[in-house]
Amino acid sequence: MKCENCGEHEASIPVTRVDNGEAQTVNLCDKCAPLKGIASGTAPHPAAGLLALLSSLGEPQPSEDEACAHCGTGAGDFRESGQLGCPECYECFAKQLRPLLKRLHGSDRHEGKKYVGARTSGDPRQVRLDFLARRLERAVEVEDFESAADLRDQISALREAQAQ
């Protein structure tokens, strides 16, 4: 098959895009592919295309007049742009967002750093200690014993300073 962009070279890369809920595949040669579609990832807002796809699959969609109570972002804005207006939108559009997140990331559950919140009072050294403890755990995990030893020294020095 010839490349659907230049029509000259043999097509070797199928590129699939989702537009308006429809998956379209174009076959490109290895010259055109890096310059064309797959050069810059996918559509400008990958979430927007996916939302349309999910709606065509019968996943729950926000009704037109639904809007975020905090920032006023409407369901239509969200569907068109795939972007949210404020942190509270995650609650407002939770029903649509969960399946979207699953599609985008293969998961809708955070497994990364836990955030304990800003600390208006307390010892700033504790922030540093928590950080060093986490790095130490990591250093041991990847068997970087040199860093681990260094981190242990830093932790005991800080603990001593804290105790005084």
């Binding site: 310059l35 050069a39 810059s40 905090h70 972007q83 949210l84 559950r109 750093k113 800003a118």
Partner: protein, 364 residues
């Protein structure tokens, strides 16, 4: 603890320190970057926030910056106060996005800012797509070190400014594609041998299949020139930061292996052709009177391959990384003392490259 944080200082050589510490695998990997997207609770995301809110956010970052022990001495710019050429300099150093400097609108948004440590390429963009985009740039393949830089900065900033966070969904971002860890780890990698031997398509297909993505020199939507690719993770939720970093690092190491094999095969099977390509590229760079940026990057790619394979002893890869930055139009304009149009820039570029690359040596 209080730091010296300069407010809108002149732009000199800030943000280029990564070039002087080339790091592992720098013959193939130019640089590694890790960025974290963070937002402040109770505010609308930056694109939807009022001018006043964005200015308040910039002010809070400015106050917090004064006692960030990981930052040390630093510089903080309000993008609106910079003139066009300074903004372009920051883009060319990959310290800010074109979105932050408001390239697609008439001017940057109020409250858009950049904070940068003075001794490292670590800092954060303020009021881009998200309120905060923490980032660290390192030379060569150093994702783990870059992650450590931003992790530490994140701990300190997050302890002073309350982030928008959800126990199930993690850090909340303007675009759901960044939610969770908010982490994007990327490497800027030079793969000329995989391109020449036509194996690149297969590799890039693999990138997509493994949930990663690739882009050109200036990030999303930009063109691939000079066989330089930016590879990064596409998903940000459902894995820990360390797992994401490990995954991309392992993957990049595989690609480095393929590129090395392709280079070895070229050296073995067509040493004459390879050497000719390298020295021709050098010859044009050394003598041309006009160089468009794209042509320059393609030739630089040839010379960089020669430098990595020790076909020429100098210039080294660090010099070439530096040339790559300084041969861009805003940097040339700065050196020329006036804003250059494309034609003038190509003459200035040729002159700068001729002067910088004049001492090539063969090994031995």
């Amino acid at each position: 603890m209080s730091n010296e944080v300069a407010w809108c200082p002149p732009i000199t050589d800030q943000g280029l320190s990564w070039i002087d510490e080339p790091g592992p695998a720098s013959d193939i990997v130019v640089s590694s970057r890790v960025r974290l997207a963070r937002n402040i609770e109770s505010y609308r995301f930056a694109a939807r926030a009022s001018d006043n809110d964005r200015e308040v956010i910039l002010r809070r970052v400015r106050e917090a910056a004064e006692d960030l022990s990981t930052l040390g001495e630093g510089d903080l710019w309000e993008i609106q106060r910079l003139d066009h050429s300074d903004r372009a300099l920051l883009v060319e150093r990959h310290l800010v996005s074109t979105e932050l400097i408001g390239l697609r609108r008439s001017s940057p948004q109020r409250g858009a800012g950049l904070l940068l440590a003075r001794d490292r390429t670590t800092g954060l963009m303020v009021n881009e797509e998200d309120h905060l985009r923490l980032q660290s740039l390192r030379g060569g393949l150093q994702l783990e070190a870059a992650w450590c830089d931003v992790d530490q900065l994140d701990e300190e900033i997050g302890s002073r400014i309350p982030y928008a966070y959800h126990p199930d969904l993690g850090f909340l971002t303007r675009c759901p594609t960044n939610a969770g860890t908010g982490l994007r780890a990327s490497v800027f990698i030079h793969l000329p041998a995989l391109v020449v031997t036509r194996q690149i398509a297969k590799v890039l297909q693999g990138v997509k299949q493994l949930g990663m993505t690739y882009r050109g020199l200036y990030g999303e939507g930009s063109k691939i020139v000079g066989n330089f690719f930016q590879l990064s993770n596409e998903t940000t939720l459902g894995k820990s930061e360390e797992a994401l970093i490990d995954q991309i690092e392992r993957f990049v190491k595989n690609i480095i292996g393929y590129e090395q094999q392709a280079r070895a095969a070229l050296l073995l099977e067509a040493p004459g052709v390879l050497e000719d390509k390298v020295w021709r590229a050098y010859g044009i760079l050394r003598h041309a009177r006009r160089l468009q940026y794209e042509e320059f990057m393609n030739l630089l790619s040839g010379v960089r391959l020669g430098a990595s394979l020790k076909l020429l002893e100098s210039p080294g890869v660090e010099t070439l990384s530096r040339v790559m930055i300084h041969a861009q139009t805003a940097h040339l304009s700065r050196a020329a003392g006036r804003r250059l149009n494309e034609t003038d820039a190509s003459s200035f570029r040729a002159r700068y490259v001729r002067a910088t690359l004049k001492d090539a040596r063969r090994p031995g």
